[in-house]
């Protein structure tokens, strides 16, 4: 690393920090990355994925490598595995060593042997990462060497009936089980380092917390090191010993987890932490965001890559590419400013104002409608439509016939009787894991899916509009943004010019310039696409805006901006919002009320802040404790989540519930959310509602 000169002051007595040492094979590390640079070729463009990163991984530690998409974190992981895609590789330099072997320039066979003997790996999507046509057992044996060892490993990763699972095919296992199989293969043969690239991103939050707990316990038992690559600071914070933050192919900051979380020294890390929602984020005011977007890896700026988005940037920052230097021994930050200066700069209360989309936000200082007094707008209960209800869902049931293998068909009970009343102007967040039926409920409300039973009563005449999780996929690829927004104006009796005006106004309202109207979806970034989707939904303001996980595919720094925008549109246009999410910390911020769903039922409904701070249903509690937060020991539910193909009798949650007894399993039991005696604005579907 060139910045070694900056470490002069510690050259004497203090032993050089491992990160800045040159010695090729030293004890105390299992893997070393020195000044790694990787460039890919795509067409005739050069993608500078990694631009000079140095990193050590020590024995027995979990190193959390955190970064947004395009930060180069996965490329770094693949370099350690010696598996960079050679056909698109333009250039590599620097040094990557695992167990003292060169993984960058070593022979293919040398790299392969290192992978076999010293490395393990876990990838994001366990469905595609396992061979779909090979039995799980054979795949584990390939790594483990023998059947006995494979069974032992499967047991070690918490697969209960390991012998039987050996003969399963991957598609016969649940997502969590598949990822456990991957982990079993990764730790086979006692590797010194396991590289886990977003191992929990494709999993539900409860399964995620199970898997993270497993990783931690494996490290403690086996003593191997883990490189945990993740976009989620919370995941890294929960299990990592050290954290390294990457940004635009550079290392921004690294240090012990506590140090980085408590006293981050790099403006990017700080911004990332501030824009990340947690269960304690303030609900009032706009969320803090990072302005702008990640620089293009094709033409990274000459100076600090974060400079264009940095509030503290000076002229120096545009010239100099800062190297990570120690703030205190063991804690590095790649910022020219002293750490005290960075930390001293609190985010402006109107940080959201800086976001491109918030320029015309009239109400940046207006708190979210009811945040000050959450209870005020909440109807007493959902058994009668409020005076001004925007959408009233009554006894909705929906069952799908699905193929269940071997030619059999089964009933998938997506919605098992839902009542929900959304008041005009109110925002309700629906929270649940996959299979809870939350998206089906939203689609029934939108009229995209019919209900088998029950009805949806709309308060107004306008049809609800919907914003989808994958904004890119919700925009017709070959149509221009202008044509797409214009489509909603057809039949309104407007002239061409008037329609054009409305399109431009709708774009301006979401903070996009008028030129975007000529663009097609693929020319836009993820954040821009979601803004276009919002412009299309609001060009004629609907009474109800339905949002299906609109931020879950976005990077943290962009997600906050979109949430701010939805909040502002709701206030400006007087819409009701129904917001589906798997993330309780998002639900808490966007919802006046939260509805928690489990296997097709609402199990808890109440004011957002109260549901989160004083959960009444055991499932809500479990969900809350699974939210990855630093230092919080999750309450891990055992067993696999129940399937909507065969919901358990009685209370569907009873097989996993710590409080359940025989009454909960009674097949005659029909649980509906019932108002709590202690709080009339809250309802819980439980035989033993315990309000703390």
């Amino acid at each position: 690393m060139r910045h070694v000169s900056s470490g002069e002051e510690e050259a004497g007595a203090a032993p050089p920090h491992p990160d800045v040492s040159f010695s090729p094979a030293r004890p105390g590390t299992v893997a070393e990355v020195e000044n790694l640079a990787v460039t890919f070729r795509r067409g005739n463009r050069r993608i500078h994925a990694v631009r000079g990163v140095s990193l050590d991984i020590r024995p027995g530690e979990i190193l959390g490598l955190v970064g947004e998409s395009g930060s180069g974190k996965s490329v770094l992981g693949m370099s350690l595995l010696g598996l960079l895609p050679e056909d698109t590789l333009e250039h590599t330099s620097g040094r990557v060593a695992v167990a003292g072997k060169d993984m960058l320039h070593g022979s293919a066979d040398l790299r392969r042997r290192v992978r076999k003997e010293h490395l393990g790996s876990v990838f994001q999507d366990p469905m595609t990462s396992l061979n779909p046509t090979m039995r799980v057992g054979r795949q584990v044996i390939e790594a483990a060497g023998s059947t006995e060892e494979a069974v032992r490993l499967l047991r070690a990763v918490g697969i209960s009936d390991a012998e039987r699972r050996m003969s399963s095919f991957p598609h016969e296992l649940s997502g969590g089980l598949r990822q456990r199989v991957m982990i079993a293969m990764a730790v086979a043969g006692n590797p010194s380092l396991v590289i886990a690239d977003e191992p929990t991103t494709a999993l539900d939050v409860m399964v995620q917390s199970q898997v993270l707990t497993l990783l931690r316990s494996l490290v403690d038992e086996i003593g191997c090191s883990f490189l945990l690559i993740t976009h989620d600071l919370g995941v890294a914070a929960q299990v990592a010993d050290r954290i390294a933050v990457m940004y635009a192919g550079r290392l921004a900051e690294s240090g012990p987890t506590d140090t980085v979380l408590r006293s981050a020294a790099h403006p990017y890390s700080l911004g990332l932490m501030r824009s990340r929602l947690s269960l304690t984020s303030p609900r009032t005011g706009t969320l803090s965001t990072l302005r702008g977007e990640v620089p293009s890896p094709v033409a990274p700026p000459p100076g600090c890559p974060f400079q264009p988005r940095c509030d503290l940037a000076t002229d120096d920052c545009t010239q100099l590419l800062p190297d990570p230097v120690p703030v205190i021994p063991g804690h590095l930050s790649a910022c020219v400013l002293p750490a005290e200066v960075v930390r001293a700069r609190r985010p402006a209360p109107d940080a959201g104002e800086q976001d491109a989309g918030e320029q015309d936000a009239g109400g940046q200082d207006a708190p979210q409608a009811d945040a000050a007094d959450p209870e005020s707008a909440v109807p007493a209960a959902a058994d009668a439509p409020g005076a001004a209800s925007a959408v009233w869902v009554r006894q909705i049931r929906r069952t799908f016939r699905v193929k269940a293998g071997r030619g059999r068909r089964k009933d998938l009970q997506a919605l098992r009787e839902i009542d929900l009343d959304v008041a005009a102007g109110e925002s309700v967040a629906i929270v649940g894991e996959s299979g809870s039926g939350k998206s089906t409920l939203l689609r029934v409300m939108a009229g995209l899916e019919r209900a088998d039973h029950g009805e949806v009563v709309l308060g107004g005449s306008t049809r609800p509009q919907m914003v989808f999780q994958d904004a890119g996929a919700s925009l017709t690829p070959w149509m221009t943004v202008g044509a797409l927004i214009d489509e909603r104006l057809r039949g309104e009796g407007l002239s061409r010019a008037e329609r054009q005006e409305r399109v431009v106004a709708a774009l301006a309202q979401v903070g996009l310039p008028a030129e975007v109207a000529q663009a097609r979806s693929r020319q836009l970034s993820g954040g821009q696409r979601q803004r276009v989707a919002l412009a299309r939904a609001t060009v004629i303001p609907p009474q109800v805006l339905l949002c299906d996980e609109p931020t879950s595919a976005l990077d943290v720094s962009l997600a906050a901006g979109v949430l701010n925008l939805i909040g502002r549109l709701r206030r400006q246009l007087g819409m009701s919002v129904v917001f589906v999410t798997h993330d309780l910390s998002v639900a808490r911020v966007v919802g006046d009320r939260i509805a928690v769903m489990y296997l097709g039922n609402i199990v808890e409904l109440g004011p957002a802040e109260r549901v989160v701070s004083q959960p009444a249903h055991p499932y809500t509690k479990a969900l809350l404790s699974a939210v990855p937060e630093a230092g919080a020991a999750p309450m891990v539910l055992t067993g696999e989540p129940a399937s909507p193909l065969a919901p358990p009798s009685g209370c569907a949650f009873h097989p996993r519930c710590p409080l359940a007894d025989d009454a909960c399993a009674d097949s005659e039991l029909r649980l509906r959310p019932v108002r709590l005696r202690t709080a009339h604005d809250r309802a819980v579907a439980c035989l033993k509602p315990e309000l703390i």
């Binding site: 895609p85 996929a473 919700s474 909603r488």
Partner: protein
């Protein structure tokens, strides 16, 4: 195989490397010019009467002249007709027949595919069962039986080949449309107030165009070959009309002494099919690069 190991991680490298030899723009340009060959051949086919030096039906010189002899570029056939002129006229018939079948197949198959893909459910089931029924039979053999039943002739051949050919397009278009119909953009369009007709026309059908264009252009070669085979079997025009397949078949007896008489029409088919295949590949590359 062990020797090849280092390269294995780079399976597409061959293509990428050729892309690197040529800068991206040059590769694009090359693809465009190869695709342009389709236009060149169409022009030649259109101008066949102008380009042909002689009447294809009348003997114009000594029989069995070798190529070049007596000023006949491709020689003369068994009764002294100009092989070049016959090949040019035959090429015209083959080329436009192939294009006609493709246009017909794309229209019929396209409509059926879009309808099946848009509506799904029972409509899809019924239409696709019928399509699959056609696909479950060997197309060329069925075409032969149909022509044989209708009686030989150019129109009947076209009809027969069209009958067996549209199901391929129905399948492709339906597949593309079905995949698109599962994307949220269709639901978004419905929510935006677009009716079924508009959804099908604006939000679904355009997505099937690239795959259809690629298949259709790759099919030009296949059709030229299939039509030539039918003609070779005697299912085309009656005797004196110049036709590439039939000219080769009728003159097979000259093969050992005057090889050019049956071979030249065959080479013309080869050229047409090559142009079709090359242009099809070029168009696919252009579509993928977009």
């Amino acid at each position: 195989m062990a020797v090849a190991e280092p390269q294995l991680a780079a399976p597409l490298a061959a293509r990428r490397r050729s892309a690197r030899l040529l800068p991206a723009n040059a590769a694009r340009w090359a693809n465009w010019s190869i695709a342009g060959l389709l236009g060149v051949v169409t022009l030649v086919a259109l101008l066949a009467p102008v380009l042909a030096p002689h009447d294809p039906l009348q003997p114009v010189g000594q029989p069995q002249l070798a190529p070049g002899q007596g000023g006949f570029l491709l020689g003369t056939d068994g009764i002294g007709r100009d092989v070049l002129s016959r090949v040019l006229y035959g090429l015209q018939a083959s080329w436009f027949a192939a294009l006609l079948v493709i246009v017909g197949g794309v229209i019929i198959g396209g409509i059926i595919g879009v309808v099946a893909g848009t509506f799904g459910g029972i409509v899809d089931n019924v239409l696709m069962r019928i399509t699959d029924g056609f696909l479950a039979l060997p197309a060329p053999v069925l075409a032969i039986a149909i022509v044989a039943a209708l009686g030989p002739g150019f129109v009947h051949t076209l009809l027969a080949v069209s009958i067996v050919w549209w199901p391929f397009y129905a399948r492709i278009v339906r597949g593309e449309v079905r995949a698109l119909a599962a994307r949220p953009h269709v639901e978004a369009a419905r929510l935006a107030g677009a009716g079924t007709f508009r959804v099908a026309l604006r939000h679904l059908a355009p997505g099937a165009v690239p795959a259809t264009v690629v298949t259709a252009s790759l099919d030009v070669g296949n059709l030229v070959l299939t039509l030539a085979a039918l003609s070779f079997l005697g299912l085309g025009q009656p005797a004196p009309t110049p036709e590439l397949g039939a000219d080769a078949a009728r003159n097979l007896s000259y093969l050992l002494q005057q090889w050019w008489i049956p071979t030249m029409p065959g080479l013309a088919v080869l050229v047409l099919a090559m142009v079709g295949n090359l242009a099809g590949d070029a168009i696919r590359n252009l579509m993928e690069d977009r």
